[in-house]
């Protein structure tokens, strides 16, 4: 079967939450059969690249095999966070949909 390249948004959902200058984004496949593809392809490095323009300094990926979910913790990505960010979205809530713009091969 030919490999198919799709947007993460087609096969997974995500939610962003902030604490200080740190953002976490969960990434959850709709269908468990796509879990291995996420595990293999959506690495901490790839997510770091995705938020490099915002000055992210470190990305930690946590794997929740029981729930089939990934949790990315992205440091210093909020340009000051709720405290001092000049961004219209100081909490960074919209960034889950930037993550979902990444491509994945299924």
């Amino acid at each position: 079967m030919a490999n198919l390249i799709v947007k993460l948004h087609d096969i997974a959902h995500a939610r962003a939450g902030d604490k200080g200058n740190r953002l976490n984004i969960s990434l959850i496949p709709y269908d468990g059969t796509h879990w291995p593809a996420l595990l293999e392809q959506i690495t901490a490095e790839k997510v770091h690249q995705c938020f490099m323009h915002r000055g992210a300094t470190h990305v930690q990926r946590y794997e929740l095999h029981n729930l089939k979910a990934l949790n990315f913790v992205i440091d210093n990505v909020l340009e000051g966070g709720v405290n001092s960010s000049l961004n219209l979205d100081k909490h960074g809530k919209s960034n889950s949909f930037r993550l979902l713009d990444l491509e994945v091969t299924i």
Partner: protein, 456 residues
């Protein structure tokens, strides 16, 4: 049927819907089980805003919407023995309790037992320079100014004690959000405070409830991908916690929204960093072994929460007066709007850089790229502008001197006459901001207690 307790949540932040709790209360009454109603209303800086309000008027400093929230449901809760537990006391729990007393009198409710929890406020009581800064805030510059508020996230023990002694309302200031749930649950089952897996289960339930509708279809809908029925009437959540630590999440009857494996997974991970080590004052929660099962329509069961002994330090949020924050916007629409908007942004940049003053600013083209971009507009640089027909230029400014910030807002306003063709709809605002830093406080320095407010 194992013995259980229902915890309904009527608010997930300060400013949440004031009519959400009525459907929750109706549902709790109809289910005819031991029930408690909670409201979570304190974000990181809400308490600082309360402290500023209290500085102006010593009677204030509690949740501004308190009266609107309680008036429709107080009588039913009292009549049906549903205690109310909330951090709506903010910077002035005693003031909130006095207002509730007044509301009760107006509704002919007598001898209401209102408990006030104290011990979270450490302003002027602990020397900040002796405390460690929380790891996520290490890169923040620390203000030399006096803090305007300093509060520790305290645990659930005083809430449980107050309920044991018959409190019908428990008013707190800063507590850990899940503690609003953990207190009533531990009190109900008479669990030990070292029964870590049980405390973990209650904490997980509290974590799922604490943002209100975020577990019942709020902050979730994505049309065509994640559809939510009747979002305009999204129902708020109810957690049923069982003696064995099982948790079932559902929502108020006859409301919109959705409880599904997906909504619960998203909220379970919301604002979680290491899922094996979620620090709260009452337990370190591990959700890595949690299993979810859909047990009915809009009903999800969670099992497998694990707990580790509670940490020796508590987190404190300390707030300082921040800088002045200005925002100004102007719209360009129709033919060549993108390029006219870009020209307007360039004009603002040139005018700002000419000023001999210290401030930070940022320019966005809303409709091209804004919230996902960086302060340096890296994404905008590669964005084609020719096809755009409705773009709003936004300038945001942070500065210590209000005059400078106002001056830049004047520059946005001046684009009416001095900017590109067809610019309209200028709005500007200048506000003071509050900034917060999180510290770690040794538990041994904190003691919490409660007292009942006496009837006048």
């Amino acid at each position: 049927m194992a013995e259980s307790i229902l915890i309904g949540c009527g608010a997930g932040f300060s400013g949440d819907r004031v009519d959400a709790a009525q459907a929750i209360v109706k549902t709790l009454i109809s289910r005819q089980k031991k029930s408690v109603l909670i409201f979570e209303m304190l974000a990181e800086r809400t308490l600082a805003l309360g402290q500023l309000a209290k500085n102006q008027n010593a009677q204030l400093g509690y949740e501004p919407l308190l009266e609107d929230i309680l008036t429709p449901i107080l009588k039913d809760c009292v009549a049906h023995h549903i205690p109310i537990v909330s951090n709506f006391g903010a910077a002035n729990p005693s003031g909130a309790a006095r207002l509730i007393q007044k509301l009760a009198k107006e509704q002919d409710i007598h001898h209401l037992k209102i408990a006030v929890i104290e011990g979270d406020d450490i302003l002027n009581k602990i020397n900040l320079s002796e405390l460690q800064i929380w790891e996520g805030d290490l890169e923040l510059s620390i203000s030399a100014d006096d803090p305007i508020a300093a509060n520790v996230y305290i645990g659930a023990e005083s809430i449980a004690q107050a309920l044991t002694q018959g409190a019908q309302i428990v008013v707190t200031g800063r507590v850990a959000d899940p503690a609003l749930t953990v207190g009533p649950v531990v009190e109900h089952f008479d669990w030990g405070w070292q029964d870590w897996d049980k405390i973990a289960a209650a904490t997980m339930a509290g974590h799922l409830l604490e943002c209100g509708s975020q577990v019942t279809g709020g902050y979730f809908a994505d049309p065509g991908y994640k559809d939510v029925p009747d979002l305009a009437n999204v129902g708020f959540p109810i957690a049923e916690i069982f003696e064995d630590g099982r948790v079932i999440i559902s929502k108020a009857d006859n409301t919109g929204g959705l409880v599904s494996i997906q909504t619960v997974k998203e909220q379970l991970l919301y604002e979680i960093h290491d899922p094996a080590n979620y620090y709260t004052p009452d337990v370190i929660l591990d959700i890595t072994q949690v299993a979810l099962t859909e047990t009915g329509h809009n009903q999800v069961e969670l099992t497998g929460a694990k707990g580790k002994p509670r940490p020796d330090t508590l987190k404190a949020t300390v707030s300082f007066m921040g800088s002045w924050f200005g925002e100004g916007e102007i719209s360009y629409a129709g033919q060549n709007a993108g390029n006219r908007a870009k020209l307007a942004a360039n004009v603002l940049k040139e005018r700002a850089d000419k000023l001999d003053a210290r401030f930070d600013y940022r320019l966005d083209l809303i409709g091209a790229v804004s919230v996902l971009d960086s302060n340096k507009a890296d994404l905008l640089a590669s964005m084609p502008l020719n096809q755009l027909t409705d773009v709003r230029v936004r300038m945001a400014v942070n500065g210590a001197d209000k005059k400078n910030v106002e001056r830049l807002m004047n520059e946005v306003n001046a684009l009416y006459c001095c900017g590109p063709a067809g610019g309209g709809g200028v709005r500007t605002s200048v506000k003071s901001s509050v900034r917060t830093v999180s510290y770690l406080v040794p538990r041994s320095l904190i003691s919490t207690h409660f007292h009942f407010i006496q009837e006048n």
